[in-house]
Symmetry: C2
Subunit: 232 residues, 2 copies
């Protein structure tokens, strides 16, 4: 059972410039049958590692691509490009988040209609990205086991702006005495009913469930993407 | 050899309201002989754990206190208060950083002159806090071994605004295959000559060096704080 897209629901403010662009992007993704999925988290929570693994596993079977935001460096684009998927870096300078205009400009020379799944990795930040709709269908908020269980309570807005929580680096759970019960309770306190997925990109644990979820997401847009994930 | 305070050096912009308040705070700290030390990092890098340990170890020998910033919750203030030191939480709502005015207001009913060391833990964020001078003498930027070695390159501004880099959670270094050489090179690339301290608040490794550095810092303000750290 997928949660309903949350971004549409929580945005009650007047449409600002970003929202207008984001809405146009979302319409375009829907029209083209492309599922856009964004990732937010604090720096170092493992967005790029998870995404590199996901792109590598999906790329032989689906048409996938990624945009990746950072203040500086092209490091992440280089890492993601190892998957073989098309990747583009967006550098934001001193800005702590992507906005819809940056996504739109990055897509100018791409044929979005040829993509099943477009991933957008935001700048590592648990605050600023919360307010910027990027036109995505699904926003994943990542939380690594090393960060502490109370992050959802401390950064409620970003958890509220997201659709799914992904707990990363679960191979380190024992080493850091990760309290799964506590983090689950904190997520549900902030965003009741939120779906939570646990993964380790390093050991591969939980990757099946994570990928299946991404593909189901793409299948919902009915573009001939088969929800049968047996191919993976 | 301590580095010269960097905040004074890099700020070449016109003094804005924050800078005026920060300058007044800094003058006040100097006049009162209080060493103000701020901590910045991404969420979950271990600021609160390190600070709780430091306060607990320093509190019997020095007059220490802490302010701690978060968007929401009083969790960190509660954790830090276990040290026995005076602690006050600043909640910022949706703001991704403290500013000098928040620090000033939090200190309204405290006698700053009775403190040797005042710690200010900023909101967990590697972007926004970089631009806000809090009147501190020393800014520590924390980076945990689990976050990835390239963070200094990706968030150069905050590393540049800080005086000392503190590598945290070194007890997990082997588990995450932490590449010390690489992170040192990346820090020096962004901020040549930056002092780097390594600690594990959990095992206590490196805490001596870290505390000695804090006390030397306080001693520089010549308030009768003895730089001899034998008491600890």
């Amino acid at each position: 059972m997928s949660p309903e897209p949350r971004l549409l629901e929580v945005r009650k403010n007047v449409l600002k410039q970003n929202d207008i662009v984001a809405r146009a992007l979302r319409d375009r993704f829907h029209r083209e049958g492309t599922s856009a999925i964004s990732l937010v988290s604090s720096p170092g929570a493992g967005k790029t590692t998870l995404l590199e693994k996901a792109l590598t596993l999906l790329q032989p079977h689906y048409r996938v691509a990624a945009l990746v935001g950072d203040l500086a460096t092209e490091n992440d684009a280089r890492r993601l490009a190892r998957s073989g998927a098309p990747v583009k870096q967006i550098t934001t300078g001193t800005l702590c988040h992507l906005d819809a205009g940056m996504v739109e400009r990055a897509l100018e020379d791409w044929d979005v209609g040829k993509l099943d799944l477009l991933f957008v990795e935001n700048v590592g930040n648990l605050v600023c990205p919360a307010s910027y709709d990027l036109g995505e269908d699904l926003r994943l908020v990542l939380l690594s086991v090393t960060e502490g269980e109370d992050k959802p309570l401390k950064y409620p807005t970003i958890f509220n702006s997201a659709d799914v929580a992904v707990i990363t680096k679960i191979d380190l759970a024992a080493a850091v005495e990760f309290d799964e019960h506590s983090v689950q309770a904190n997520i549900q306190a902030v965003r009741p009913g939120m779906r939570v997925v646990q993964v380790s990109a390093r050991t591969g644990e939980g990757m099946d469930t994570f990928l299946r979820f991404m593909i189901e997401q793409a299948a919902r847009l009915q573009k001939g993407v088969c929800a049968d994930t047996g191919a993976l």
